[in-house]
C-alpha cells in the first residue's frame, strides 16, 4: 500500500464517495432531479409568441376586418351563438353589427378580453378607412437573462446544494450512529475531526460534478447566461454547500433515529423552500419579515448566484450575502462540534 492509501483522511473520504455513488436514489436526487425540474419549468414557463386572441362577429364584413389583424382570429356567428361562445370561453369578444355602428360584447375584467377590444376596434376602424396620425414602428425585445428560466436556474441550483448537503451529511451520520458504526469508529484510533472533514471533502468533490452537470445543462438547453466570473460562482457554490453541510451536521449532531433527523431536516428546509426565492422573488414577502428572509442562508446564496449569473455582479457587490453564508458556516459548525453525540 502506498502512503495515500494508508492515510485515514483519504480512506474516509473515499468511503464517503463510494457510499454515495453506490446509492442509486442519491444519484437520482442529486444529479437527475434538478435537471428534470429545470426541464419541466423551462417547458411550463417558456416565452411563447404573443397569443392570438379568438373573437367572433355577427356578419362576414366585420369578420374579414377583424381577421386582417395578425393578433386576432375571427369567426362569423349569430348573436345567440356568440353569447354562448363568450360564456364558455370559446371567444373573448363578440363584435355586433348595429344600425348606428358596432358594439363590442366582452368581459372588461379579463385582461385578454381588454386587449381583444383594443385590437378589434383598431382593425374595424382601419378597415373603415381610419389612418394613423403618427407613424409607429415596433422594436421587439426577447432578451436572454430576463426569462423565467434564467431566474429559476440559480434558484434551483441553490435549492439543490441545500438538499444534497443536508441530506448527505444528516442521513449518513445518523445512520452510522443508529447502526453503532459511529461508536465503533470512535473506539478505534480514528481522529474524530477527520471523520467530519471527510464528509466535507467528499461533498466538495461531488459538488463539482453536480454543479457542472446542472449548469452545463441549463446553458446548453436554455442558453442561460453566465455574466459574472465563473470562478466567483464556483466560490459561491462552495460557500453555499459548506453552509448547508454545517447546518446538516448541526441537525444530525444529536438525533438517534432516521425519523427524528428527517423531521428536523424538513423543519429546517421547508421555510427556505418557501421564503428564499427559489421559484419567485423573495422581495414579494412583506417588509416586516424581510430581515428574516434575507438572513436565511438559501436567500443569501440564491441572491448572490442570481447577481453573479444574471447581473454580472462581482464579489465585492455581494459582501452582505457572502457574510451571511460565512456566518452560517461558522456558527452551526461550532455548535455541532460541541454537542455532537459520538455514540
Amino acid at each position: 500500500m502506498n502512503k495515500l492509501e494508508l492515510s485515514s483522511l483519504y480512506q474516509l473520504t473515499l468511503v464517503r464517495f463510494r457510499l454515495v455513488l453506490r446509492e442509486p436514489e442519491a444519484i437520482f436526487w442529486i444529479f437527475i432531479f434538478p435537471i428534470l425540474l429545470a426541464v419541466g419549468l423551462g417547458i411550463a414557463f417558456r416565452n411563447r409568441p404573443a397569443d392570438v386572441l379568438q373573437v367572433g362577429a355577427t356578419n362576414p364584413q366585420l369578420t374579414q376586418a377583424l381577421a386582417a389583424d395578425k393578433g386576432l382570429t375571427a369567426a362569423t356567428m349569430d348573436e345567440a351563438a356568440g353569447t354562448h361562445a363568450l360564456a364558455t370561453g370559446g371567444i373573448l369578444l363578440l363584435a355586433i353589427q348595429e344600425p348606428g355602428g358596432v358594439a363590442y360584447k366582452y368581459d372588461d375584467t379579463n385582461p385578454d378580453a381588454r386587449s381583444a377590444r383594443l385590437l378589434a376596434d383598431q382593425a374595424i376602424q382601419a378597415a373603415a378607412g381610419r389612418r394613423d396620425a403618427v407613424h409607429a414602428a415596433n422594436r421587439l425585445v426577447h432578451e436572454t437573462g430576463s426569462r423565467y428560466i434564467d431566474f429559476v436556474v440559480p434558484g434551483l441550483l441553490g435549492m439543490n446544494l441545500m438538499g444534497s448537503a443536508m441530506w448527505g451529511l444528516g442521513f449518513s451520520i445518523v445512520e452510522a450512529r443508529q447502526k453503532k458504526l459511529l461508536k465503533r469508529m470512535v473506539a478505534s484510533p480514528m481522529k474524530r475531526w477527520q471523520y467530519l472533514v471527510s464528509f466535507l471533502l467528499s461533498r466538495l468533490a461531488m459538488l463539482v460534478i453536480e454543479v457542472a452537470a446542472f449548469l452545463g445543462f441549463a446553458r446548453l438547453a436554455f442558453g442561460v447566461p453566465f455574466r459574472g466570473s465563473l470562478a466567483e460562482l464556483g466560490v459561491l457554490c462552495v460557500l453555499t454547500s459548506l453552509a448547508f453541510s454545517a447546518l446538516g451536521l448541526l441537525v444530525a449532531s444529536r438525533a438517534k433515529t432516521m425519523e427524528a433527523v428527517s423531521g428536523l431536516m424538513n423543519l429546517v428546509m421547508l421555510p427556505m423552500w418557501i421564503l428564499s426565492g427559489v421559484f419567485f422573488s423573495a422581495s414579494r414577502f412583506p417588509a416586516v419579515i424581510q430581515p428574516v428572509v434575507r438572513a436565511l442562508p438559501l436567500t443569501a446564496a440564491i441572491d448572490a448566484m442570481r447577481g453573479n449569473m444574471l447581473q454580472g455582479m462581482n464579489a465585492g457587490q455581494m459582501m452582505a450575502q457572502v457574510g451571511i453564508l460565512l456566518a452560517w458556516i461558522v456558527v452551526p459548525f461550532t455548535i455541532s462540534l460541541r454537542i455532537f453525540r459520538w455514540r
Binding site: L12, V15, R18, L19, R22, L181, A187
Partner: protein, 338 residues
C-alpha cells in the same frame, strides 16, 4: 492462522503465573457505574494477565457489556480505576486506542462497502498493524474479499468485525458476545478463530452468556451477576466448586397418576443427600438436580432411595457439571432465565 510473533513467546512465557500490578495487561479496581434506572456495575475488581484468554460470563443484564465498554474507553466509570497495558484512559487514550482491538456487540458496517474496503478503512486508522491481506486470511474471508458487507451471512459479518479488531495488531483484544445470534456451525467456526488467536499469544477478553463458549475458550472466567463478580477462576476450578463432577437430573411420579402431575410428587431430599457421593440437591419446577462425585456408585443408590419412597422416575439423565451448574448453584437461577 497468524504466524507466531515476538509477542507470542513473551505472552506465553508470562502466562497466568506472573500476575501482579506490573505484569497484568488489564487491572480494574472498585469499578462502579450506574445508569438512570440500574446499577450496571457494582464494585468490580479484576486482573487479567498477558497472554490470557479471559471470559466474562453472565446472563443478559449482568453488567458484562458495561464492564467491557468501560475497559474500551467508551463509557466512563462513576468510580474506580481502569489500567490497561500500564496506561489509563484519562492520560493515554490515543495511545491505548492504537494498541487495543475491539469488537462491539452490534456494529453494522456499511452494507455497500466490500470486505476489503472496510478493512482498508480500519487499517488506515492505525499507525502500525498487519496487512489487510493477513486480516482477511485470519478471518477466513478470502472468498468474500470483494463481496459487499450487505451480502454476508451473520457469521461472516462477525468474522469481519473480528478482522477489523485485528488490523491494528492489538496487544489486547476485546470481543463482546462474539457468537451471539450465530448458528452452531458459525459459532464453532468463530471459536476456531479465537483458538488461533490464543495460540498466537494474544490477550483476549470476551463476554458471553454461553457457558460452553466460556468453557471452551477461556483460561479463566469471571461469572457476573447484577454488576458483580460472583465467582472467579479457571473453568475447572469453578466447576469443582459445584462439589461433584457430574449432575444427575430427574423427575418423579407417584406411579398411579399420569406423568403430567409428576412434578408434584414429594421427594424426601434428606434421604438422597444422605447418600455419601451426593453433594447437594435442589429442585426447580419439578426437576430435581443432584451434584454427584462418583456417578457409578451414586446412581444405584438414588434408584433404590426413590423406589423405597414409592416413587417412579418419569425422567432421568446425567451430565458432566458445567459452568451453567456453577451459576445455578450460586444464584439459584439459570443463565438463560430471561
Amino acid at each position: 492462522m497468524p504466524e507466531g510473533r515476538e509477542s507470542v513467546a513473551q505472552g506465553v512465557a508470562g502466562g497466568t503465573a506472573g500476575r501482579g500490578a506490573s505484569g497484568s495487561t488489564l487491572l480494574l479496581r472498585g469499578l462502579r457505574k450506574a445508569f438512570t434506572d440500574v446499577q450496571a456495575v457494582d464494585g468490580l475488581d479484576l486482573e487479567v494477565a498477558r497472554g490470557e484468554c479471559f471470559g466474562l460470563l453472565g446472563p443478559n443484564g449482568a453488567g458484562k457489556t458495561t464492564t467491557i465498554e468501560i475497559c474500551e474507553g467508551l463509557t466512563a466509570p462513576d468510580e474506580g480505576t481502569v489500567e490497561l497495558l500500564g496506561l489509563n484512559w484519562r492520560t493515554g487514550a490515543n495511545e491505548l486506542r492504537q494498541r487495543i482491538g475491539i469488537q462491539l456487540q452490534e456494529t453494522q458496517f456499511p452494507d455497500k462497502l466490500t470486505v476489503e474496503e472496510t478493512l482498508t478503512l480500519f487499517r488506515s486508522f492505525f499507525r502500525r498493524g498487519i496487512p489487510v491481506e493477513e486480516s482477511i486470511r485470519t478471518a477466513q474471508l478470502e472468498e468474500k474479499r470483494h463481496a459487499r458487507v450487505g451480502g454476508l451471512s451473520g457469521g461472516q459479518k462477525q468474522r469481519l468485525a473480528m478482522a477489523c479488531a485485528l488490523v491494528g495488531d492489538p496487544e489486547l483484544l476485546f470481543l463482546d458476545e462474539p457468537t451471539t445470534g450465530l448458528d452452531p456451525q458459525a459459532r464453532r467456526h468463530l471459536w476456531d478463530l479465537v483458538d488461533g488467536l490464543k495460540q498466537a499469544g494474544r490477550t483476549i477478553i470476551l463476554t458471553t452468556h454461553y457457558m460452553e463458549e466460556a468453557e471452551r475458550l477461556c483460561d479463566r472466567v469471571a461469572i457476573m451477576d447484577h454488576g458483580r463478580v460472583i465467582a472467579l477462576g479457571t473453568p475447572q476450578q469453578l466447576i469443582a466448586t459445584v462439589g461433584g463432577e457430574d449432575i444427575v437430573e430427574f423427575a418423579v411420579s407417584t406411579g398411579e397418576t399420569g406423568s403430567q402431575e409428576a412434578g408434584h410428587a414429594v421427594v424426601d431430599a434428606a434421604e438422597l443427600t444422605a447418600i455419601p457421593s451426593v453433594q447437594s440437591h435442589r429442585v426447580d419446577d419439578g426437576l430435581h438436580q443432584l451434584s454427584v462425585s462418583e456417578l457409578h456408585t451414586a446412581v444405584p443408590r438414588i434408584f433404590a432411595a426413590l423406589r423405597a419412597q414409592g416413587l417412579h422416575l418419569s425422567e432421568f439423565r446425567t451430565h458432566s457439571a458445567t459452568l451453567e451448574d456453577v451459576f445455578v448453584r450460586l444464584t439459584g437461577r439459570n443463565l438463560r432465565d430471561e
